[in-house]
Amino acid sequence: MIISMFLSIIWLIIVPTIIGFGIMRVLRKKDEKSIIEAMLMGLYFEFVVFELFAIPFVFLKRSFFELRNTWLFTILIVSLISLIINRREFKNIYLDLKTSIKKCPKILAIISILLILFQCYMGFTYMHEDEDDSNFVAKAVIAIDTNTLFKYSDEGYELTTIPWRTGLSPFPWFTANIATLVRIPPAIVAHTIFPVIFVLIAYSLYFIIGKYLFDDDYEKTFMFLIIMNILYIFGNYTRYSIFVRLLTRLWQGKSILANITIPLIFYIFLKGIGTENNNYYWFMLFLVLWGSILLSSMALSLPIIVSGILTFLYIIKDKKISYVFKYLLSVLPCVGYGIIYLLIK
């Protein structure tokens, strides 16, 4: 289990970070190169690549392992290219990280880390039962056990039609993909590994949001993070809240959408849109919107509405009509998948 957790960290945190730095380099990002931002960029790049191949492979009746291997090959090539083009940068990144750690206020940092680790521990140790897993987790198991994509229903019968409402968002296959790489069953990946990894990713995102909101004041940032932790731990005021979703069902794509994708869109607009560097952030938005389609069919609505309204507000704020075209380019994949969804529904 420890080895599987370590391998999961490699595939969901370290490899994405390497890829993210590669993208930053290619797009010539001018301001600070945040490790967490790189990690998020790379993670959604992984989602995009998987989604890019998954739907055509369904139409072409390819197998699950063909999909897995194609994704793996692509990710490894991109990671290798990123390592090569950034080979002189990693030392600077490490030194920046060391400097940042020194700036952290010890007590507040320890409290917030302990709270996050507590949530990871609870997700790792305890069971949350959810009937939706008869769909989400079962699909992952079926993909591996039968090496097929949408050939069998959740009960085991051969399907005559593809269930497109969830079919455009095959996050269960991504779970299966990770399961084959870390060599444990998908149910364990979903219920034990993902609650740890994605909680860490979510709070990393909240950390950089806080860092932006408080102008790199680490004391305020860690206090912000502590309050976020407490809000989540006591967020059971309704079972429909995003807080409950993070801590009870983070292996389901829709929970990642609610707790990572949408806050990430807020971060993109807060940090980047409206600055000199905004083409980089528009590209990040493009990746995030496309990658989130893998997570849930809700990605064909909620993130588009969020980014659309924010774009409209920023057009008024910055008086830049060019944002319209950049937004339209960013949502192009979502529109494409949305049209497929409406035609096939």
Binding site: I144, I233, F234, T238, V244, A258, F266, M298, K317
Partner: protein
């Protein structure tokens, strides 16, 4: 298309009720929107993203025309998820952090931290309770006894495996082994009184046998507390092959 019916209004109201819950977090969120909009020291883009954007989302979500369009395209059962568009956690945390650091003296900061923590605890409910979490002794996070039964079937030397059991077997069996088929899946739209899965522990054994033969099901699971002392599936062409503390597994006789 834009005539608003009662169903749309109810969908809209139910979605808001689901989001609101006990109401106190939402009050904190509204307070944070007001704080962000009217505090002159807050950056313009923060006002836009947390303040103006949130107001627009409120107006949209509580607009029956938007509800009708959304429901027509994506269905009414997921409409409540529109409230995921709010930056609720981030906005509340931002406001409370700002308030804490507006105090100059250390003792005031500590007092405000204590008040903030108390406010959140009182407004919310602990996620880690028995309703949400249980302890199991496996990494699958599946009931131990259920996992035990499914593992037995999984390792059994049969090419064809089809199982029926109490409702939780329909949820969890194929999360463990995708090669075991289910006689019934998760019950959508089938009233419980018609489902063998919900009634398996109260159905007569003859009825279960007929069901199993009719659906070519070769494995049946019953809960031990519901097994009749006067009769047994063994009398109906099913052999008891495995038993644990909670369940008994029967297999069709050859």
């Amino acid at each position: 298309m834009f005539d608003i019916d009662e169903f749309t209004i109810n969908t809209m109201i139910n979605a808001y009720d689901s989001f609101k819950g006990t109401g106190l977090y939402v009050l904190l969120f509204i307070a944070s929107i007001i704080f962000v909009l009217f505090n002159k020291k807050i950056k313009k883009n923060v006002k836009v993203v947390f303040g103006i954007f949130s107001v627009i989302i409120f107006i949209i979500n509580l607009n029956p025309i938007f509800t009708k369009i959304y429901v027509k395209i994506l269905g009414d059962d997921v409409y409540w998820r529109v409230y995921w568009m709010f930056p609720i956690g981030i906005a509340i945390a931002f406001m409370l952090t700002y308030m804490i650091f507006s105090a100059n003296e250390k003792y005031r900061k500590f007092l405000l931290i204590a008040i903030v923590c108390l406010l959140i605890v009182v407004s919310g409910n602990l996620v880690y309770n028995q309703e949400n979490f249980q302890k199991v002794n496996n990494y699958y996070k599946i009931e131990d006894e259920l996992l035990d039964i499914v593992n037995y079937v999984s390792n059994d030397n049969e090419e064809y495996k089809k199982l029926v059991g109490p409702a939780n077997f329909e949820i969890y069996t194929r999360q463990i082994d995708g090669n075991i088929c289910l006689a019934e899946g998760r019950i959508w739209g089938v009233p419980p009184e018609y489902s063998i899965v919900y009634n398996i522990n109260t159905a007569n054994y003859k009825g279960i046998q007929e069901y199993a033969f009719g659906t070519n099901t070769n494995y049946i699971v019953l809960e031990n507390i519901n097994i009749s002392p006067n009769d047994s599936l063994s009398n109906y062409n099913f052999d008891e092959v495995y038993k644990n503390e909670k369940y008994t597994l029967y297999k069709m006789s050859h």
